[in-house]
């Protein structure tokens, strides 16, 4: 009897501890984001106040108004940056996903010479810090005349993302039993149909998550984009954030407002794709 109570007590305190740990972890993750959002609505005086003002006294849309306003009055070509970001991120993601699907499928299903070496090679490219590539990339892009173009950045992001999408999609296709495609072939499919009608739908959670990761990488990337873009013709939103810094001041409020605009599409996309991310799609098709 006493024992049972002790166990219950222990279980309950463990649960409490768990919740506390979860709260702390989520705070660490969410607070900076919340701070950015808050600051975008607060007057600069309040943002810069020392000691800090924790509870906002006044919220307004001034920073947003200014950002969309004329260039001379703190305005930034937001729409231009947004379009650039969108074109570059979407195109590079689509390409990275297509290549990743082809590559991932090949690694998961086929045996070929040098398979392990190629795979390790691909993974090693992930070990190189992106910034280390900036100078060589700059030189290559300059020689080929791709500085300040969409294509230049798209190429860079595709090459950054492809190893990752291949690796992720490979893992998902490995979980799809070979028999599914074989059953489809016996049911009358060509190899191609078997892939699109059976294997792809079953592994689409993996493709979706690879897509999100690739998109977010391109969407948020700053270091390389800041080197390879020059003008509003190709500058992406993260690079656009720098427009708020001038020689002596930084317009934190404006920067936060642009950052919020940057976060929104990423949030929407994640929200849209998340239902495809639910794992366990392969469950039930074959005896587990």
């Amino acid at each position: 009897m006493n024992d049972a109570r002790l166990h219950r007590l222990r279980a309950r305190s463990l649960k409490l501890l768990q919740l506390a740990a979860l709260f702390i972890a989520m705070s660490i993750i969410c607070l900076p984001g919340l701070w950015v959002v808050l600051n975008s609505f607060r007057p600069t005086v309040e943002i810069m106040a020392k000691p800090p003002v924790w509870i906002p006294q006044e919220l307004n849309l001034d920073h947003y108004r200014a950002m969309f306003g004329d260039l001379g009055e703190g305005g930034v070509p937001v729409m231009r940056y947004f379009t650039n970001s969108l074109i570059i991120s979407v195109t590079s993601t689509v390409i990275a996903i297509l290549v990743g699907m082809a590559g991932g499928y090949a690694f998961a299903r086929y045996q070929f010479k040098g398979k392990a070496a190629i795979f390790i090679g691909l993974m090693l490219t992930r070990a190189v810090p992106g910034v280390a590539l900036s100078l060589p990339l700059f030189i290559v892009m300059a020689r080929t005349g791709l500085i300040d173009t969409h294509i230049g950045l798209i190429l860079v992001y595709v090459s950054l993302n492809v190893p990752f999408t291949i690796w992720l999609i490979d893992g998902f296709f490995r979980q799809v039993p070979v028999e599914l495609a074989e059953a489809a072939e016996i049911d009358g499919c060509t190899r191609w149909q078997a892939f699109w009608k059976v294997e792809f739908p079953v592994a689409r959670a993996g493709v979706a998550s690879a897509g999100i990761f690739a998109f977010l990488t391109s969407w948020n990337e700053y270091a390389l984009a800041s080197q390879l873009t020059r003008s509003t013709f190709s500058k992406t939103m993260p690079v656009g954030l720098r427009d708020f810094t001038s020689e002596f001041t930084i317009n934190w409020g404006g920067m936060c407002a642009l950052a919020v605009l940057m976060i929104i599409p990423a949030l929407i996309l994640t929200f849209l794709v998340q239902k495809h991310l639910i794992a366990g799609l392969t469950f039930g098709g074959v005896k587990g």
Partner: protein
């Protein structure tokens, strides 16, 4: 409906040869079971018939077409996989109708075929579920339903029951047999379970190491195994094998025990020949607990080491000529280990194999 013919079919993976030129003629609407221990090439053979595995030599004919180079979809076959391989993202209805949809049949026709198959396999109430929401037996039936909707020439089964529990396995075995009687298609069925092979097959093909050891009806392979491998593989418990030497129309076993050479083998043995005597537990029974043995028989005393009561009979482990043998006791009574019993051996049902080649001497 079609015949299937294999002519010296070979399968190699690089230097490794797993199927060594097998020949097999399967009649129209015949139920043939390929059976053998794992690694014997039975599944590979089935996959070659299906077209999932290219053949390295020989010829496979389905109906009147050589299908060596045809992809699976042009062979008009269907296959039930060991792990069912149901499409997890489709409902049972979509799973069943998938092949017809790929063949671009009219929706009405697909619905009719699916309903009919669901009816046959009593799946009607599960049609809108996904495979994940089905039990093992139901998934198995969906896999079979997917195979029958297309009315293929040949059904291929790759160990379809090995993932089910014992009770369900027996039940599905009966259903497969009923299904065969209903649809009357040619069936090639792979299993490692000799009971499945015996109960289902019109003819059994016993394979080992990529060779066919024997082809015959269940009774043929049980009653006249061509070698010791078939003798021990078919039948449960496995046939007892005792080494001996022929001397004056008798087989002298170890420890001075002699057994007369069975009538059927008299003409095929010579004095001094090394042989193996094959005795099934069913033909070695304690006196008073045996089937009536009308033909020639022998009798001797054995000490029982262990008994396994099975209800209607008890399996006895005893020592004969220095070897442990298994015997059966009908109308059983409790037997203590160490008890000595007099056993009867039915000579008309004994087998003799050559000790070197291990082939039957019949």
């Amino acid at each position: 409906m079609a015949q299937v013919t294999l002519r010296t079919v070979v399968k190699k993976y690089g230097a490794l040869q797993v199927v060594h030129g097998i020949d097999l003629d399967i009649d129209d609407s015949e139920f043939v079971v390929l059976v053998g221990p794992s690694g014997c090439g039975k599944s590979t053979t089935l996959r070659m018939i299906a077209g999932l595995e290219p053949i390295s030599g020989g010829e496979i004919v389905i109906g009147d077409r050589v299908v060596n180079d045809l992809p699976p979809r042009h062979r008009n076959i269907s296959m039930v996989f060991q792990n069912y391989a149901l499409y997890p993202h489709m409902t049972v209805r979509e799973n069943l109708g998938f092949s017809l949809k790929i063949a671009k049949r009219a929706q009405g026709e697909i619905d009719r075929a699916v309903d009919e198959a669901a009816e046959i396999l009593s799946l009607t109430e599960y049609l809108d579920r996904k495979p994940g929401a089905l039990s093992g037996g139901q998934r198995q039936r969906v896999a079979m339903g997917r195979a029958i909707v297309r009315h293929p020439d040949v059904f291929l089964f790759d160990e379809p029951l090995s993932n089910l529990d014992a009770k369900l396995r027996t039940q599905m075995r009966t259903e497969i047999k009923k299904l065969h009687q209903k649809v009357k298609s040619t069936i090639v069925y792979v299993t490692h379970d000799q009971v499945e092979a015996m109960t289902l097959a019109d003819r059994i093909v016993i394979m080992r190491d990529g060779h066919i050891e024997q082809i015959g009806t269940p009774l043929e392979v049980f009653e006249a195994p061509t070698n010791t491998f078939v003798a021990t593989f078919i039948g449960s418990p496995p046939m007892n094998l005792l080494e001996g030497r022929v001397a004056q129309d008798a087989v002298a076993l170890a420890n001075g025990i002699t057994v007369p050479v069975p009538e059927a083998f008299r003409a095929h043995v010579t004095d001094g020949q090394e042989v193996i005597l094959g005795v099934r537990a069913d033909n070695l029974m304690p006196v008073g607990h045996a089937m009536p043995m009308e033909g020639a028989h022998a009798a001797f005393d054995m000490t029982v080491n262990l008994s396994e009561p099975l209800g209607t009979e008890t399996l006895l482990f005893a020592t004969l000529a220095g070897e442990e043998v298994q015997a059966k006791m009908l109308n059983p009574r409790p037997v203590a280990s160490g008890e000595q019993l007099r056993f009867q051996l039915d000579l008309t049902r004994c087998h003799l194999f050559d000790a070197q080649s291990r082939q039957s001497l019949r």
